[in-house]
Amino acid sequence: MSDTHTASGLGGDARVLRSGEREFTLDVRTQDMEINFGPQHPATHGVMRILIRADGELVTGAQPHLGYLHRCAEKIGESVEWLQYLPYTDRYDYLAAMNNNLGYSMAVEAVMGIAIPRRAELIRIICAELNRIGSHLIAVGTYGMDIGAFTPFLYMFREREWMMALFEKICGARLTYSYIRIGGLFNDAPPGWFEEVALFCDTFEAKWPEYYDLLIVNKIFVKRTANVGVIPGRVCLDFGLTGPILRGSGVDWDLRRDMPYSLYGEIWRDGAFQVPVARGEMGTVGDCWDRTWVRMREMQESIRIVRWCLAHIEEGPVMAEIPKILKVPKGEAYVGIENPRGELGHYVVSDGEKMAVRVRVRGPSFCNVAVLEDVLPGALVADAVAIIGSTDIVMGETDR
């Protein structure tokens, strides 16, 4: 407990309270109080504890405590063979396992310097984008639930269920796929799979406006999120925030377009997708509403990318010719890809042996959660849940 702030009596002289860059005038006797938010709290989306210091209804300090889900992913990366590490990548951002597989595979491929068959690249992008839709569905759905809108959550899970069924058909797993392998894919898509993906795209795209109306422009939702938890663009850059948070703060940056990998450069040149950047439609640029809006819009763009891939799919192998037991040449590479939550970076170091010297995972959530220390102070306690939810963190990734 910290010291008691005293004005010259209840209702007496006004006292200025400083919190971050903001100032508030209080004229009542208040006392700092420490509140444990989590580790078991539904709004932390996993196990995170935030020690919140509050002065009345005002948050004056926030200290995230992580590590409850630490599973030594980086240490394991040094102790197993290159390919054996792949299933562990599923488990850091478990809502976007396809993207994690892709990030790790691309990093190893960058050191090996191998080219991937075009069919494999196309299916990789389809899977990554479908997974992005699934991940954003959870992000937006659970965010709605965090601040009191239960119904959209159920619809979002229904749509995600279909997406998971599609993945089950292609690789047998619903959550931890390990489908995108170093050098290509685990196997080819089963017959009729692409038609079903197309059907999913059509159905989901038709339903999208309903969800948009139901949650995003819902009056209560807007009042709860607009002008709340504003993160200015320069703070995003300073803290290394990426993904929808960065675009939600009005910074026009998407690795798929600006530093294209895989076939994204070609898709972009074809004009098949856009990068939604928030404009502060409902309040200030960088508020919670903007971040949610970006996620919602990105689902539409993902559908368009999937469609482009479906239209350009071609026959061919789905695996480059690589030996059964991988030997990665001596070298090191850093590859960052656009995950649903931001830039997922893999820094891998090889000394030419069967196992890695170092597998570093730069999880976007780890960097994104750090900003809470800066953005929570000055907010109301009731808004803390709205702000934490809008950063869309997955604890499996922050703790690895």
């Binding site: 992580l66 910074v251 040449p329 090191e332 970076g345 820094y347 010297v357 730069r362």
Partner: protein, 172 residues
């Protein structure tokens, strides 16, 4: 700018602490032991001047690395005398990346904190400190971030001894 351009620019403006550059190369076919190196190029920087180096990278017009994407360390091998500190910078304006490597003596792994330049490195440095035993002098909040406060040893060091027990819980 490609890597060569960035390196030339760094040399032209006399970036503090710049030691050299390392680019991937083919192995020497005559020498069987020389297998070359694959992957990305990086610049080598003196760890004691890393903070000044980063400040130049961030503020120079032509470089303009607004974002520190990652800061981590690597223990290359048990018998090596140095740890690496690896930094990944990103310039949104010029759409370019820069990988930085510092060699840090294992005997005394200390370097000044880079938090005054990029606040992003605050948590990365905390993680490096607990995992590798590196001290970042002047860090504003040098607590453990992922490990418990009373954890013994630095798990990502190659000479790390696995614990036999933790608070009475057997780990064997």
């Amino acid at each position: 700018m490609d890597f060569q351009g960035i390196h030339d620019r760094l040399r032209a403006i006399g970036a503090p602490g710049l030691v050299g550059a390392d680019e991937p190369r083919q192995g020497d076919p005559k020498d069987k032991k020389d297998k070359g190196r694959a992957g990305d190029p990086f610049v080598l920087v003196d760890p004691q001047r890393l903070t000044d180096f980063l400040r130049v990278c961030r503020d120079d017009e032509r470089l303009c690395f607004e974002m520190l994407v990652d800061l981590t360390a690597t223990d290359p091998a048990k018998d090596q005398a140095h740890l690496w500190v690896n930094v990944q910078l990103l310039s949104l304006r010029h759409r370019q990346r820069l990988a930085i490597k510092c060699l840090l003596e294992k005997a005394a792994p200390r370097l000044p904190t880079t938090v005054p330049v990029y606040r992003a490195s605050q948590w990365h440095e905390r993680e490096c400190a607990e995992m590798f035993g590196i001290t970042f002098e002047g860090h504003p909040d040098p607590r453990n971030v992922l490990l418990p406060a009373d954890w013994v040893g630095h798990p990502l060091r190659k000479d790390y001894q696995y614990p036999k027990e933790y608070h009475g819980i057997s780990c064997e």
